[in-house]
Chain length 230, copies 2
Amino acid sequence: MIKTIAFDADDTLWHTERIFINTKEKYAALLADYHDYVYIERHLDATETKNIQHFGYGVKGFTLSMIETACELTEGRITGDKIKQIIALAKEMLAAPIDVLEGVRETIVELSKNYRLMVITKGDLLDQETKLARSGLGDYFDAFEIVPRKDAKIYKYVMRRHEIAPEEFLMVGNSLRSDILPVIEAGAKAVFVPYETEWFHERVSDEELVGNHFGRIETMLELPAWLKTL
Amino acid sequence: MIKTIAFDADDTLWHTERIFINTKEKYAALLADYHDYVYIERHLDATETKNIQHFGYGVKGFTLSMIETACELTEGRITGDKIKQIIALAKEMLAAPIDVLEGVRETIVELSKNYRLMVITKGDLLDQETKLARSGLGDYFDAFEIVPRKDAKIYKYVMRRHEIAPEEFLMVGNSLRSDILPVIEAGAKAVFVPYETEWFHERVSDEELVGNHFGRIETMLELPAWLKTL
């Protein structure tokens, strides 16, 4: 019944949150003369959330938020040298090696024999494209969709564009908010694979989950078996 | 013979370079205590060119280059307050009103009756998407493709994805480098509509043009008549 399986990319196919956490630690160290880690992180998260309407998702917008936060938390006393170090952190993030999650490669290789596979992800186009290339998984996917947000309308648009009937479409991802609930709303199926940490932008309350049916697996290795239960 | 017409967006459908020029002027004014406009612009252009490999095209990468250049040209003495003003310039650019080029609206409305219309553009996804929405032209286009670069491979990919034969495809744009030469290489047709200024990243030498046949019109209003000459 399922013919197309689409995967979220960041923290579903490869580790991304780790790179952000690592960068945040280096960033807090740069500002250690002014504030402690917890205080800096709270302000950075708030700036990032406020800026998503302007900058969207991805490393470049995150970096602009790091710089804006640094100016604010130092009351303008941040040095040009430290700002340059923050920009260097951005370039480092964009070039970071791609660390594919456990079990992903074998699962993708196996499923590509019987299903049409896609990636549907938010973020910066160039960044996501080079990550897919560096992951070595590019050849297994028939399509790579970078979307400005993940809501039911976008999923319907992607399915229509690829001539996929909702009942033949399955989305797999680590975010209930982005990969699961809107896909169900669009009439398709979804499987949740929780990541080791949950991104604060993507939290979902228990009430929002009521009445929504979706699969849940602990690692990508369980996906082929889950598909057989359908 | 032509069934699909694709348009570049920035400086083909709406003014963009003007927004960048305006921003560069405000940026140079912020740094006026250190250097003159010409010196600042030359360094900014150089930083931008060097950073395209990391940041790609669009406002966010341009802003990171403005910040990096400001740190360099002030030898680190730039103040946090000025950095915040640069970030504010970015938000202003992203929210700038869309100024559709003369003759574009009527031409698009007319052509949409007989052709399938697309937009193919570089830049940030969220930014380009909101610009299309703000332009009021969104409804006339069947597809909106944001690409990381414009080479023959990308044009072939877009045509294949939309099941368009190269001989039925026409690209219209203001860049010989991005909108004309690679389209001809991909076996399709192209029409050049020069903009009032030429972007320094996109310059093409006369030798590169030899043997390439493409149309040239002075404003978009001439496009319907040009199509009748085919």
